[in-house]
Point group: D2
Chain length 372, copies 4
C-alpha cells in the first residue's frame, strides 16, 4: 500500500484526535493509502518537538510554512484556531496539496468563499472538519431522510449546547476574542456544527432570524478582566427552501449539557431523534404503524448501520468521539485517492459560514434575513 | 363541610376530566367545601342527560343558560371550545358566580381582556385551565427557580408538540376552523400552554418573533375537503424582560410526540429539565458540584414534593393527567373559599392570549414584536 | 343505575386509594352499579369518624364487625395489615358478601388457601389487590405475551425494589414484625407483587430457590431498639413449567429505587420491558425486523391500549397510581355484577402465597423447592 | 522511547481490536514503550499474510509457534478461542515473554490455575482481557465503591445479556461446541465478564447457586444440524463474603439486548447503576441528600473521570468499545515496564473461572456450592 505523508498543524485538542485517526484508519477501514504521521507543526520548536514525541510524529517544526513547503509532505491537516486558517490553507493549495481544515473554515463567509474558490481552482481534495454529523447514527439519519422513509421534512428542531464557559470564572481565551475566534462565539464554535446539520439533514435554507447574547460580558484574562467579544448563546429560526420550519439553539453556557448536539426531525411519515450524549442510538418513529404499536424505536448502532462494522462486529459495543475523526480521515484519504470531492468540502464549509454571517446580521438588524 | 354545587358546561374530553376531579378532590385534599356534581350542560337535552347518567351528575340541561341561571348552582366550570367562552363567562360573572374556564380564555386577546376585567369587576374567583404547569414536577420547577437555586435564568427552551393532526387523513374539526377555534391553531391549543409556561417559569416577556405554517392545508370535512384555517406548527423566539432568551416550538403534527410538553431552563447556577411524557420526574443540574460529580439528577416525585403526598404516600407511585385537574379543582375551591385570586386568573389567561396575538402579528409582519 | 354500598376497613395508605377509586369509578368506566361510600371502619370510633369526614364516607365505626354485619353494606373492601385479613374476610364471606382484600391475602399460604376455599364455598365475588399488574402497560404486556407476539417465553427477569426502609433510622413498624406482617418482610410486601407478576406474565412455576437477608437487624421501636423479624431483601430463581428461567429481586432497602417494579420478558420472537417508575411506557422488541431497524420501541400508553381511553382521550397524557386502584374497583364491581370470577381471585392470591412460603422454605433449607 | 515488538495471535474480532489499540496507545497515553505491530499469526500462511496487510502488521505467520519463538517478539497477545490458550500461553511463558490472553483464560478452572501458576513462576507480566470493566464509568464505579461513598455493599444486581444467538437460524460455531468453547456457553462467553464484575465490584464470593439452559438445542452446522453443547442463558445467585447478596443473569439469546452489561450496586449509603449500551454514563444515588432532592444522578464521563482525559478534553464526547482495549494495552505495557502485576492477572482470571466451574457444578447438582 502506498504511503501518504501527513503534515499536521496544531497539537491541541483536535491535533491529538487527528493523530489517533491517522495512526489507525488504515487498520480499521480498507484505505488505498497508508498514512504516515510525518511532521507536526506548532507555534514553537520546543513545543512541536514535545508534541511529536508524545503523539508519535516522525518530525516536527515550529513554523507551519516549513511543514507546508516540505516536498515530502503529501497532505495537510489544519487544526488551529480560525484566524490562522487562511494563510495556511492558501499556501498548501498553492502547492497543490490536499487540505483538511478544522471548522469553521474561514474567519468570515467572505474568507471561506475565497478558500473554497482556491481549493476548486487547485483541483485538490479539500474537506472541513464537521465531525459530529459523521457518527454511524447521524449517517443513518441522513440515509433515512434521503430514502423518504419519514416522508417530506416539515420541521427540524436541533441544538448544539454545551457548558464549557458556563462558569463565569472560566478565563478568557482565544475562543472569546474576536481577533482569534471571529465575531461569532458559540455561534461559530458549536453553532456552525448546528447549521451544518441543518443543511445536511434539512436541506437548503431560504431565510433565518437569529437572537443571541453574551451572558458573561467580561472574563479574567492575562492582564485582568477583559471583554468577551462574542456571543455565549443564541437561537435561530429557519425557513428551509422546502418550506419546512427550523428551530435551532446553540450555547457554550448551557449548564449541564456536555455534548448537547441533538435533533428531532419530523416528516410527513415519521420522525427521527438523536442526542450526541448517547451517540450510539438513533430514535425512529414510523407513523404508519397501527396505533397500538406506535412509538419511537431505539436503533442501537451495529454492523448493519453505516460505518459501524469496521469498528466492531458487535451491535451496541459503541463508537466514541475519536472514531468520528477516523471516519473523517478515511473520507479525506478517499477524496485524495479518488479525485472526487467528498462532503463536506470547503464549498460546503462556506455554505455554513454564509449562514453564520446571516445570523450575525439578523441580530444586528433585528430582522429576518433572506439567504438565497 | 359546606356543599358547593358545581355546574359544568361541556361533556367532552375536559368535561369528563373535571367530573373526575370534582368527584374526588375533597377526598384527596383538605378542602373547605364539598363539591356536588349538580348539573351538566351540553348542546342538547338528550346528550346532556346521557352525559349526566354516564358521568354521574345530578341533573342536566341542553341549554347552558338554564344552568348558569339556576340559583342552586354555586360555581361554573366551562369546558367548551373557545368561541363559546365569552357569553357563558359573562353571564356567570353577571350573576356573581365564580368561573373556571378552559384555555385559551378568549377568542382573541381583546376578548380575554374583556373577560378578565369583568371578572375583576365582579370580584369573584376566576381561573383558567392551564393544567400541565400544575404537576408536582412543574410546581417543583417553579419553586426551584423562585428560590434562586439555579441562579438567574438565562435561557428557556420549551416545546409543546403533539401529533394528533399529523395524519393528513385526520378530519377537519372545530380545532381547524377559525370560527370555533380562533385564527391560531396549534398556537392556541398547545402553544398557549407553552406561552403560559414561559411566563410562569421564565417571567415577563419583552418581545418575540414567531414563524408558523399549516402542513396540511385541507382536510376532510362533512361536506368534502375543506380549508384548514389555522396553523399546524410553529416556532417562537422570546426575549424576556430579564434579558434571558427563549426558544419555543409548538405543534399538532409532530409525529411521534404524544405529550411533548418539555422544557429545559438554564440559569447561572444550574438548570432544570422536564418532559411531560414522564411527568413524574424533574431533572436538576447543580453547577456547584465538583466536576467528577456533575450531572443532571432525576428527581422522581414523592411525598416531599408539591401536591404529591395527598395522592400517594409512596415516592415514584406516580400521578397522571387527571390528577392535574384535581389540583386545579382544589385551587378553584380555595379561590372561592378564600376570596383571594389563585393563579392563573383570567388576567393571567389574558397575558397568555396577548402573546398569542403578538405571535400571529409577528408572522403576518414577519418581524419582531414588542409586547411591553 | 343501582347503588352498591361499599364498606371499607382501613383508612391508611390503601384506604385512601380505595376511597378515591370508588368515588370516581362509575364516572370513568361504564359500570353497572353506582358505588356509594357508605361506611368506613378503623380501629377507633374517633379515628374512623375523622377518616369518614376527611375522605368522604357516609358513616363510620371503630369496629369492623359492625360494618361487616350491617345489612346495608353490600360489599367489603379490606385494606388492613395481613394479620387481620382472616377474621374479616371469613366474617364477610359467611354473610355472603363480596370481598376485595389487599395483598398478601393471608398470613400464610395455609391461611390463604382457607380464605380461597371459603370464598369459593360462598360463591361470591372475591379479589386480591395486586394493583401494579393492572396498569395499561402491564395489561398490554399480558396481551402481547398471550397473543404469541414475542413467541415462547424463555426468560423472565423482574424486580420489585423500593427503599422505604433503606435508612437504618427508619423505625420499626407493623411491616417489620412477624406478628402483624408475617415472617416474610419485603418478600411479602413487594415480593408478592413480583411473584404475582411472574405467574401472570410467565405462567405456572415448577420450582424455585431463594436467598434473602435482613440488612438492618434492629430498628427503633416504641420501647427502644427492637429486632426486625423479617427480610429486607432477597433474590429468587424460578423454573417455570414451560421450562423458562426466571430471576427475581425484591427489596425494601434498594437505595434510590422508589417504585422499582420492573420486568424484561424474553421470548423466542422478541421481548418486552417495563419500569413502573415510568408506568406509561412499555418497551417492545420485535426480533423479526431487519437488522438495521431492530431495537426496543417505546409504546407510550394511549387510547389504543387496554383501559386507557376511559381515563384520557390523549395518548401520553398519563395515568398514575390511583388509577390502578380505579381499574381494580371496576373489576370488582364487574365480578359482583357478572357473577364471574375476575382475576386475581383469592385462589390466585393463594397461588402467590404458596410461592412466598416456598421461598421461605428454600432459604431455610438452602435448596431448590419444587412447587408443583 | 524504547520499542516493544508485539506478536498477536488471532485476527478475528478481538485481533482487530488489539491491533487498533497497539497502533494508538502510545499517542493517547504516556506509555514508556512504543509498541510495534511486529507479527501476526493465524491458522494459515495466506490468511495471516492477508491480515497483516489489512490490519497493518509488519510480518505474519501461519504457525503461532514461529511467532512465539521469534526472539524479535517481546510480548504476546492471545486472541484465539479458549481451547487454544493453554499451549500458546505456556510456550510464551516458558520463554519468559509477557502474555496478554483473552478471556476466559483457561478451558477449565484447573487449566486456568495451571496458567496462573506458570505465569507466577515465570515472573512476567500476565493479564486477562476483561475489557468492559475498564470503561471510565466502570472504573469510576470501582472508585466510588472503594472510597465508601455508597457505604457497605448490600446487593449486587448485574447482567450480561446479548442476543447474538437469539435467532435459531444462527449457525453452530466454535462458540457452541464444547471442544472449542468449553462446556460453558454463554456462561463462559458473557457470564465470565459478569462474574469478573461481581468479584471486582462486589468482592470475594462465598457461595452460589446457578441455573441455566439451552434454548436452541440444535443449530445448523457444516454437516447438517448439530447439537449445541453448552448453555444459552442462565441465572446465578451469589452470597458475597461480606454477606451481600448477588443476582446475576447472562444470556446470548436475550432478544433486543445488544450489549446488556448492566449493574446496580446498592450500599448502605447509596447506589450506583450502569448500562454498557450507554457506556459513557454512570448513575449515582446519594442517600444522604434531603428527601426533596433525592434521585439518581447521571454522571456523564468527562476529563474529571478515570482514563477519560487522554481520549478527549470534552466531557460527554464519548469513548467506545475499542478504547477499552486501548486501556488494556496501556495497562499491559505498564505491567511489562513496571514489573508489577496489573489487574486482572491470570490469577484473577482463574478466580473467575473457579466461579464458572462452581456454576456448572451447581446446575449439575441442583444445589448451592460453597466456593471458599
Amino acid at each position: 500500500m502506498q504511503d501518504i505523508h501527513i503534515g499536521l498543524i496544531g497539537a491541541g485538542y483536535m491535533g491529538k484526535a487527528h493523530t489517533i485517526a491517522y495512526k489507525t484508519v488504515r487498520s480499521i477501514f480498507p484505505t488505498s493509502r497508508n498514512p504516515v504521521c510525518a511532521c507536526i507543526a506548532t507555534s514553537s520548536e520546543e513545543g512541536a518537538a514535545r508534541s511529536a514525541r508524545e503523539l508519535g510524529w516522525n518530525s516536527s517544526t515550529g513554523d507551519w510554512r516549513t511543514l507546508v513547503n516540505d516536498p515530502a509532505i503529501d497532505a495537510i491537516v489544519v487544526a488551529t484556531p480560525p484566524a490562522t486558517h487562511k494563510d495556511i490553507v492558501l499556501a498548501a493549495l498553492a502547492l497543490g496539496k490536499p487540505v483538511f481544515c478544522e471548522k469553521p473554515l474561514g474567519f468570515s463567509a467572505a474568507e471561506s468563499l475565497q478558500l473554497a474558490q482556491a481549493a476548486e481552482d487547485a483541483g485538490v481534495a479539500n474537506m472541513v472538519g464537521y465531525n459530529y454529523i459523521r457518527t454511524p447514527a447521524s449517517q443513518l439519519a441522513r440515509q433515512i431522510i434521503a430514502s423518504g422513509e419519514i416522508g417530506d421534512i416539515i420541521h427540524v428542531a436541533a441544538e448544539h449546547v454545551e457548558d464549557y464557559l458556563h462558569d463565569p470564572r472560566a478565563p478568557a481565551s482565544w475562543r472569546t476574542r474576536e481577533a482569534t475566534a471571529t465575531r461569532a462565539g458559540a455561534l461559530a464554535d458549536v453553532g456552525s456544527h448546528l447549521l451544518n446539520l441543518a443543511l445536511r439533514l434539512g436541506g437548503p435554507v431560504d431565510s433565518l432570524v437569529a437572537d443571541m447574547n453574551t451572558v458573561h460580558a467580561r472574563r479574567d484574562g492575562p492582564h485582568g478582566m477583559e471583554a468577551v467579544d462574542n456571543d455565549d448563546q443564541g437561537n435561530v429560526m429557519l425557513r428551509f427552501a422546502s418550506g419546512a420550519l427550523g428551530a435551532l439553539t446553540f450555547s457554550r453556557v448551557a449548564a449541564g449539557r456536555k455534548m448537547g448536539y441533538t435533533y428531532r426531525i419530523t416528516g410527513t411519515k415519521g420522525a427521527i431523534a438523536f442526542d450526541q450524549e448517547n451517540q450510539n442510538e438513533l430514535w425512529l418513529y414510523d407513523a404508519s404503524r397501527p396505533a397500538q404499536r406506535q412509538g419511537f424505536q431505539r436503533l442501537l448502532m451495529g454492523p448493519a448501520h453505516p460505518d459501524y462494522l469496521a469498528f466492531s462486529q458487535g451491535a451496541g459495543h459503541g463508537t466514541g468521539y475519536n472514531e468520528q475523526i477516523v471516519i473523517e480521515a478515511r473520507d479525506f484519504l478517499q477524496a485524495i485517492a479518488g479525485g472526487e470531492p467528498v462532503w463536506p468540502t470547503f464549498r460546503d464549509g462556506y455554505e455554513v459560514d454564509r449562514l453564520v454571517d446571516a445570523a450575525l446580521r439578523s441580530v444586528q438588524e433585528r430582522s429576518w434575513i433572506t439567504v438565497r
